[in-house]
Amino acid sequence: MLFISRDFLVDIVDHALDAYPLEACGLLGGIREEVNKVYRTRNDAASARIYELNPLDYLRADRDAESQGNSIIGVYHSHTHSEPYPSPTDLAQAPDPSWHYVLVSLKRKFPSVRSYRIIDGKISEEEVVLIKV
């Protein structure tokens, strides 16, 4: 399960819309299953089909999260024209089995958000629970 506030969820969707038609990406700071901060990061690929999260943005986010007693617990990115489901590339390049993988699809009129765990090459969708902060 991923626990996230409405504001953070809106921020992720806004980022995806701001970046359109390119893919957006960012990191989730928090503790285990609860998101305490969203870090917008640059997509170095500047592409509508792939993302490469800017390494220095990751370093800054990681330091900020650690300084607040959090850690990076996941990554989000947008699929501009496809379903919110991890692609073979997402699967192959998933860096950390403890992470949450959030996908925003802009394929339809209304954005849709899904979250997944990717462990040992297996994808499983998890529930996204909105929380009040």
Partner: protein, 93 residues
């Protein structure tokens, strides 16, 4: 000279769960080699068999990505902090 190295969550299981370890070396390459010698599970995760860096790992000396410095030949100094983070990427294919 011992330098502090920050370990990403994905690699912590092979360093007994530690978020920070210390390793000896004068360059990033020496640090990584010695780190690999101390923690066997770490060796192949950071460096390839030919001794070069895996492309899916980023190593930082303080605020700088060592790929934009002297890569593994980048010299370290007392008080430096080295951070290892995975490369994060994906796409629609």
């Amino acid at each position: 000279m011992a330098v502090e190295i920050r370990i990403p969550t994905v690699l912590r299981p092979v360093v007994s769960g530690q978020s920070v370890v210390k390793a000896e070396g004068e360059t990033i390459g020496e640090l990584m080699k010695n780190l690999g010698n101390e923690y066997a599970g770490l060796a192949g995760q950071i460096l390839k068999e030919d001794g070069s860096m895996h492309k899916f790992i980023n190593i930082y000396l303080n605020d700088d990505d060592v790929r934009y410095l002297e890569k593994l030949d980048t010299k370290v100094s007392p008080g430096d902090v080295v951070t290892i983070l995975p490369a994060v990427a994906g796409g629609i294919f």
